[in-house]
């Protein structure tokens, strides 16, 4: 979808020069170049860095990131071009002629070493006390270039106070190398606009508006900046100490739920390539760590589909049958807490479009501290609920004051994939070698519909599998239940299904073309909202929005690094696992049927579920006080 009013934030000259095909441009075709004395043919307009990568020639980088526009500021990737006085940043230099490139000449090596020396001289902190120890790009470069002393000295005192004000993100500017990846992530990729370079010269500092603490500015806690930070300057707020404490406390019944995207990514923390599912191994590991019960958030995702799908049908009925003009359509999904905070700040007038459903994490928390406590005969005051999420915004979400409908805090701690991996390592466990096991009753293993929540378009696909079947009594007309229009990685996608031969009670939907839209990344969410404001979504019914690029598998709590390729692998793993599951529709999950029989007895969107599983939103607005 082309958005008319979307603005390119990146300065024109810093747009990425991405060329995917081998024959491009009207000048066209291939250019003969020389790299390190050997001839190569590369597409016209490709950057030197890209040309080298395609030919397996390594060039170190720091500010370059595949997801972001070009900055060319760290200068680590400089190369020598024959005949030019100055070195050129290979990430930014497009090849448009027959040039001769030297990637490791004396000048280049000396310059890179100098640049590293300069960065290290300003980088305060010791590697062994850093969350990014062993996964730090600056550390890796220092090793690669054999740095064994600080040539130009080293700061020996902290200069900045660590900002721990946010529920989700910790900023330690002493470790910042000013690569501006976070700035480009926040402003260009996500269009949230928390971080920007401020001041100038030696005093340049990545900062917030008026240098306010993170809690006071409009941050949606998506954590995408953390995923792209090359050092430990940005990190998530880690609750694992408190969780260990709860585990060690015999009075506490510690329950953990794991989101769909954890299983397909956590292997990366143990050195596996992206795209390996570790579902059963993870369940085993969590029990070994000492969690009393290990549940699958996919159950709550199935529950969300029941509630959200029903809510959609009710909205349709009120609109089409009752003619209620106050009903807002399309209905927007509400499972992404980053997206929720985004809309609360930027589009507070449109909160009525949001589904009132809590996110699966919070639904599960409420169910655990009520239904589960009842079934097990445990005092909910002694239950500690931990949620492993691919997400940093979940840390904020679980601390929302309204999330206590059980009478207790629905979720006590939000843990990220990275932090869980750390706990597993701390427990001396090597995850990939564990025997797999199942999730615990009474929620058990969930459906494939719940699982695909992890990928962009997954909520939509899961909802359609259920809604279509409720209305027509038949399965969605897609082979193997794979609703392909929902899948893919385009920023904004849309599709429709026509409801035909519907059941008697849904007669008013006969022949209705159910139109839906999917967006991921808040920059794309913004495009959708602008389209909504222009009235272009009037005949749409359901919109799925995920704050993070790629959906939850690309969340801010996921293993670092991230890239389009890595996210694609994780998505593939999710769909593969879905295809192999025996139950793939939320309403067919026997545990879901059980909870509606036993506990949520007045059905989806009934009184009990309204009290426990639904929520309301806050008009926050965009003024920073």
């Amino acid at each position: 979808m082309e958005s008319k009013i979307s603005q390119e934030r990146a300065p024109v000259a810093q747009k990425p020069h991405k060329i995917d095909t081998t024959v491009t441009g009207d000048i066209g075709g291939l250019v003969d170049i020389e790299i390190n004395g050997r001839p190569y043919q590369v597409p016209f307009g490709i950057t030197i860095l890209e040309a080298c990568r395609r030919n397996n020639i390594h060039i170190p980088t720091l500010c370059y990131h595949e997801d972001l526009c070009i900055a060319g500021v760290c200068r680590v990737c400089v190369v020598e071009i024959e005949g030019m006085r100055t070195l050129q940043a290979s990430c930014a230099y497009p090849i448009t002629g027959k040039i001769k490139i030297w990637t490791t000449s004396e000048k280049v090596r000396k310059a890179r070493r100098h640049i590293l020396d300069l960065l290290l001289s300003e980088h305060y902190g010791e590697c062994y006390s850093c969350v990014r120890n062993n996964n730090c790009e600056l550390q890796t470069l220092a090793k690669e270039y054999g740095v064994d002393y600080y040539r130009f000295g080293h700061v020996d005192q902290k200069r900045y106070e660590v900002d721990r004000s946010s529920y989700a993100i910790v900023r330690d500017m002493d470790k910042c190398v000013l690569c501006k990846r976070c700035v480009r992530t926040c402003i260009d990729l996500q269009e949230v606009g928390v971080l920007e370079a401020t001041r100038r010269g030696y005093n340049t500092l990545i900062s917030t508006f008026m240098d306010k603490p993170m809690i006071d500015v409009i941050c949606i806690n998506c954590g995408q900046c953390i995923n792209r930070c090359p050092t430990g300057a940005l990190r998530a707020k880690d609750p694992s100490d408190e969780i260990w404490k709860a585990i060690d406390d015999p009075k506490k019944h510690v329950v953990i739920q794991t989101a769909p995207s954890i299983r397909v990514a956590i292997g990366e923390e143990f050195g596996l390539p992206p795209g390996n599912s570790m579902t059963g191994q993870m369940a085993t590991a969590l029990r070994m760590i000492g969690f009393d019960r290990v549940f699958d958030t996919n159950f709550a995702a199935d529950l969300t589909i029941m509630e959200e799908g029903t809510e959609l049908l009710l909205r349709l009925k009120r609109k089409l049958v009752d003619g209620d003009e106050n009903v807002k359509l399309p209905q927007f999904t509400s499972c992404s807490p980053g997206w929720i905070k985004f809309i609360e700040h930027y589009y507070p007038e449109y909160l009525d479009y949001l589904s009132t459903c809590k996110s699966p994490q919070q639904m599960f928390g409420a169910v655990i501290k009520t239904f589960y406590a009842q079934e097990m005969g445990i005092d909910p005051a002694n239950i500690v609920t931990v949620a492993v999420m691919p997400c940093t915004a979940k840390k904020f979400e679980c601390n929302r004051p309204e999330m206590n409908s059980s009478g207790f805090k629905d979720i006590d701690y939000g843990l990220t994939t990275r932090e869980l991996a750390q706990m597993i390592k701390e427990a001396g466990i090597y995850l990939p070698e564990l025997p797999p096991s199942h999730f615990d009753e009474p929620f058990g293993d969930a459906s494939g519909a719940g699982l695909i929540f992890g990928a962009t378009g997954g909520v939509m696909e899961a909802a359609l599998r259920t809604v279509y079947e409720i209305v027509t009594g038949r399965e969605v007309p897609f082979k193997n239940l794979e609703i392909t229009p929902c899948r893919g990685i385009d920023g904004v996608r849309e599709a429709s299904v026509v409801l035909e031969n519907v059941k008697e009670e849904w007669k008013f939907l006969e022949g209705v073309e159910l139109k839906f839209m999917i967006a991921h990344g808040t920059a794309n969410a913004k495009k959708v909202m602008e389209a909504l404001i222009r009235g272009e979504l009037n005949n749409y019914h359901f919109v799925e929005i995920m704050a993070c690029p790629g959906g939850c598998i690309g969340g801010g709590g996921q293993p670092i690094p991230t890239s389009p390729e890595i996210r694609k692998k994780r998505i593939e793993a999710i769909y593969k696992e879905d295809a192999e599951l025996p139950i793939r529709k939320s309403h067919e999950n026997p545990h879901i049927k059980y909870i509606y029989e036993k506990f949520l007895v007045d059905g989806p969107c009934g009184h009990i579920s309204h009290k426990l599983l639904h929520t309301h939103y806050t008009k926050r607005g965009k003024y920073i006080v």
Partner: protein
């Protein structure tokens, strides 16, 4: 005007955006006028401008802190900028600096409590052949001597 009223800022920004346009390329002229009119660019003004131009407040903050003639803190009615670059330096900048500090009772980087004077150093102002030189707001004063400085300050005090 110590702290401008929010409504005054809103209408001023509205007026400026109408005058210059909604595009980001008009950010600097708008900021310059706000700076001139109010003596600084308050956090409310920055947000108001940001929202009008459809950019993020932090981007405006990044721009304001980049340029040394824009400030987020209130400046005096008279901003005195003494050139500290080499030609003025060797022409006797130090004596002028001492005179200014003494006569105004201010250190460089400070603004007087009554918000009448701000005293700052600046880099070369292109008066190297007539140094030492300083700017008071947009006006330039050259070939300064301590007694000449005292006279200038007396005239605006």
């Amino acid at each position: 005007m110590i702290y401008p009223d929010k409504n005054v800022i809103v209408s001023e920004v509205e007026h400026l955006v109408e005058k210059y346009g909604f595009g980001r390329e008009n950010l600097l002229p708008i900021l310059q006028e706000v700076q001139r009119k109010f003596g600084f660019i308050s956090d409310f003004a920055m947000q108001e401008i940001a929202h009008r131009l459809d950019i993020h407040p932090v981007e405006v903050y990044g721009v304001v802190t980049f340029y040394s003639f824009l400030s987020t803190e209130p400046k005096g009615k008279y901003v005195i900028r003494l050139c500290k670059t080499i030609s003025c330096d060797i022409a006797g900048k130090d004596a002028i600096a001492r005179t200014l500090e003494r006569e105004l009772g201010l250190k460089f980087g400070e603004t007087s409590a009554d918000r009448k004077f701000s005293l700052e150093f600046c880099h070369c102002i292109g008066m190297c052949d007539q140094g030492p030189a300083m700017l008071i707001n947009d006006q330039v004063f050259t070939k300064l001597t301590p007694s000449k400085v005292i006279e200038i300050i007396e005239n605006i005090k």
